[in-house]
């Protein structure tokens, strides 16, 4: 019996290369791009963490005005070529104010990544709790929570965020506010996945056994369900992250998000809108950074998804498609 199995496996293995070679190459390539993406993301996180250090090495800070570096005759265009790039100002200076761009970019990374990370964590926590409760609870609880999830799905994140930013007093810190709103509005995808998975897991032997031996819902959730839920939740969270970065950038771009002097990439882009003829680097730097960050995170998310569970792929693809509308 065991021998027969081994032979069968060997046979499969021997037959595989002919048909599987191209798919293997594809997987390898996907893995390579995921590794590159992971390195890029790690670098961005490092830059964000080390922002004061990096600005310190450059010898600048993100808020000091340098009126002597911009040409007041032209309305504040940076002096020198390429937006005033020099040994003192590695990426040049901001038009009008003369604030150091490199310092603003690295501090901006803190805001962009930090807000998105906080929002994603909040989405994961709410989504997992709601999804687990709906999956484990009785019919009434499930129905009620599923309806709530339906309502949250109907909340367009940009619209709600815009509205909330209007009514919350200006002295409430905007980065925190944006993270909270995006977190509160964007958890429905995770809760739907967690609920569906919980329902499927509930009928499995080890969960049924735990229930029969009198374990409570919390203990079952912690010991039997969460380990099995980790893979889909992590996958979905990594896919949510870049979307959250875009929402923050978009709100700041519209001029209602992060307010100066706190720097954010979206806000820099919005300011640069009026300066692109005189100082094109001022626009290109934040645009490129947003593009690279979101691209790296997206590729990383794909890699994580392929690595953790190829089966959720088709379902998630629809999920990410639905969320893209936030960028409109």
């Amino acid at each position: 019996m065991a021998e027969a199995l081994l032979v069968k496996e060997a046979g499969v293995a021997a037959a595989a290369p002919a048909s599987g070679a191209s798919s293997f190459r594809r997987r390898l390539r996907a893995r390579r791009s995921a590794v590159v993406a992971a390195v890029v993301v790690a670098l961005l996180v490092l830059v964000a963490l080390a922002a004061p250090l990096l600005a310190g090495i450059e010898g600048q800070d993100p808020t000091t005005y340098h009126a002597n570096l911009v040409d007041s005759a032209t309305g504040g265009v940076p002096l020198g070529s390429f937006g005033g790039i020099s040994a003192e100002h590695w990426l040049g200076v901001e038009p009008l104010t003369g604030r150091d761009l490199f310092a603003r970019v690295v501090y901006g990374a803190r805001v962009s990544l930090g807000v998105a990370l906080a929002a994603t964590l909040l989405q994961v926590i709410i989504g997992v709790v709601v999804g687990l409760a709906a999956g484990l609870g009785n019919r009434f609880v499930d129905q009620a929570l599923s309806r709530v999830t339906d309502i949250v799905v109907a909340l367009p994140v940009m619209v709600i965020a815009l509205g909330a930013l209007a009514v919350v007093p200006a002295d409430f810190p905007r980065p925190v506010l944006i993270a909270v709103i995006v977190g509160l509005v964007g958890w429905s995808g995770i809760s739907k996945i967690v609920r569906a998975r919980t329902l499927a897991l509930k009928s499995l032997d080890h969960v049924a056994a735990a229930r029969l031996s009198g374990w409570g819902g919390l203990r079952i959730a912690r010991r039997e369900l969460l380990p099995a839920l980790a893979a889909p939740v992590i996958t979905y969270a990594v896919l949510l992250f870049p979307g959250n970065i875009v929402v923050e950038a978009a709100l700041s771009f519209l001029g209602v998000g992060i307010k100066p002097p706190t720097p954010s990439w979206g806000q820099m882009l919005s300011d640069a809108d009026t300066w692109y003829q005189a100082a094109p680097t001022y626009l290109l730097i934040p645009a490129l950074l947003i593009f690279i960050t979101v691209l790296a995170l997206t590729v990383l998310g794909e890699g994580v998804r392929n690595a953790l569970d190829p089966r959720v792929a088709s379902r998630l693809r629809i999920g990410t498609g639905r969320k893209k509308e936030a960028g409109g």
Partner: protein
């Protein structure tokens, strides 16, 4: 099928009602002194009290909400201090800024939003499905790899980045197109299209990616099925298989996603409208937010929610019609 339809539409109605409660509470209770906001920062306490009286903000909250609902379904009257103003159903309230009726305001902004949404939608469906189709047809070759890379790049680029770069290249550097400035279709169809070209292209470029991926994956799924293998054995050409049988399999999901996307577009493509100066629903929202014009914000959030809920229901129904198994689950 009829039962499914009724249940789905009933569910949508319930969600809308609940949404109106949540939004109403969030925007009229949370900010605190609504009368002060309505009156403006420079109002004296006496003026604030007068405004509060006019807006009947002294009533219990559920009474205020009931009035709000009554306005939507039956219309309502407003006192302006000097007289009574009637607001026809569906009445979403009156702007604090210029006393305009919110419903009228939204209706006047809708044509611009619809122009943008429908044109972009047609473009991105063609682009997305076309890309997916081409990458399946050319699978295993360099074309597929390039298309997959482009699709990823499309997913990673926010619309305001694409739009900004397009404006710089085509309007500023090459001067091929005018700087976008919306012209109504009824006024001058040719100018309408020229001015909307860049917004359409920007939205299409960033929105097509999910369609390309979905088309590709569901086509590949179909191509792996037994009946397709039978067709192939009977001598149906590869082009015929990809173009006819596999594409048909991808239509269901594409239609469903399309319904969702166009629904949320009608709530205003906030970013695209702001960037390209299109006086639509989305830009109205940004203006209302900057002016803290609560009735307009609430009205717009509700209308957007309405379109999203409607689109969700339509997407489910379309999918159920395309695939009868959905009804059972």
């Amino acid at each position: 099928m009829t039962r499914f339809l009724l249940r789905r539409l009933g569910g949508a109605l319930f969600v809308l009602l609940a949404l109106s409660v949540v939004v109403y509470a969030a925007f009229y209770v949370a900010p605190g002194n609504v009368a002060q906001i309505a009156c403006g920062p420079r109002c004296s306490p006496a003026q604030v009290a007068q405004v509060s009286d006019q807006l009947r903000l002294g009533d219990p909250l559920y009474v205020q909400y009931a009035h709000f609902l009554q306005g939507i379904f039956a219309g309502r009257d407003y006192s302006t201090g000097t007289g009574i103003l009637h607001c026809q159903a569906p009445c979403l309230g009156r702007s604090y800024q210029d006393d305009q009726q919110v419903t009228q305001m939204i209706l006047t902004k809708l044509p611009a939003t619809a122009s943008l949404a429908i044109g972009a939608f047609v473009l991105w469906i063609l682009l997305g499905v076309g890309t997916g189709l081409l990458s399946v047809w050319r699978r295993g070759r360099a074309t597929e790899r390039i298309l997959t890379g482009l699709t990823l790049a499309g997913m990673a680029t926010p619309v305001f980045v694409v739009g900004l770069l397009l404006i710089i290249v085509f309007c500023s550097a090459l001067q091929l197109l005018p700087f976008p400035d919306y012209v109504p279709l009824t006024e001058n169809p040719e100018q309408w299209a020229w001015n909307l070209l860049l917004p359409w292209v920007s939205l299409a470029l960033v929105s097509a990616a999910p369609y390309a991926r979905m088309t590709r994956s569901s086509m590949l799924e179909t191509l792996a099925e037994d009946h397709v293998r039978t067709f192939r054995a009977y001598g149906v050409s590869e082009r015929g298989l990809v173009g006819r049988h596999a594409l048909r399999g991808a239509l269901g999901p594409v239609i469903a996603l399309g319904a969702l996307d166009i629904g949320s577009m009608f709530g205003g493509a906030v970013l695209t409208e702001s960037l390209f100066n299109i006086p639509g629903v989305g830009r109205e929202l940004v203006d209302a937010v900057k002016n803290v014009d609560l009735p307009v914000v609430v009205g717009l959030v509700l209308v957007t929610g309405f379109f999203v809920v409607l689109a969700n229901a339509v997407a489910d129904i379309l999918q159920a019609m395309a695939d009868r198994r959905v009804v059972l689950s």
